[in-house]
Homo-oligomer: 122 residues x 2
DNA sequence: CCGAATCCGTGACGATACTG
DNA sequence: CAGTATCGTCACGGATTCGG
């Protein structure tokens, strides 16, 4: 087990908590991963991130835009066209998020098995 | 930007979503990181993860135990002593989680700056 | 048709008090 | 010391409706 030096995330006063909180929600990771292929418009994101509702996708994108992770381009067309793209900062987030997603894909069978045996024990 | 092949996390039916959801909450990452140094008892965890309440810590530990990420050892002593330890599976989760925490610590200034300028714009 | 705004329920989160 | 019990709040997330 590694040693860790200045553990700022662990102290409640440190503002790094706020950027950790941004990631700690249901959809952020998937949206960022979906955008990692390049700019996508709203509708494509909606089908790419399976199961997300329109409202939640808008909220997630607003938050990501507010935190400088995503940029938003509106084209004055009919029908309307809005594209979302990862910023430079957003791209730095992609690698660790992808690692989390890979972990989830690799280990979910073990997680489900552990859960089952835990529930059976009660 | 990289290509991704079989993107199971992105499909709503895939059970890997459930293990992704485990990480998508406020405290899991910090608790796992705190436990990465070795076994800790409840009280030490409580002070290590600054700001967490007893109830929420218990809930988080229960969930982690249920999913096989943490083991719980009760020593029949007075006063009671309970130690929590990362399982093998839990240790595989540490690396990606630590990467996320590092990202948060490295980039929170940029995030806060972006947020400020976004809010000023409204 | 595409994207945004409105309403609303649930559940995570948190404070406090209490028990073995 | 290591939790439980109870209650309150609030924001996340979902169905629906609106706008252009």
């Amino acid at each position: 087990m590694p040693q860790f030096p200045a553990f700022d995330v662990m102290t409640a006063t440190c503002p790094s908590r706020t950027s950790l909180a941004r990631i700690a929600n249901k959809w952020t990771a998937m949206v960022v991963i979906a955008l990692s292929v390049g700019p996508l418009r709203f509708g494509d994101l909606r089908t790419s991130v399976d199961g997300i509702s329109a409202k939640v996708l808008t909220d997630t994108l607003r938050d990501l835009e507010r935190d400088g992770l995503v940029t938003r381009h509106v084209y004055g067309e009919v029908p309307p066209r809005v594209e979302y793209e990862l910023s430079g900062l957003g791209r730095t987030l992609y690698t660790p998020l992808r690692a989390i997603a890979l972990w989830a894909e690799e280990h979910f069978t073990e997680v489900l098995a552990a859960r089952e045996s835990y529930d059976a024990r009660q």
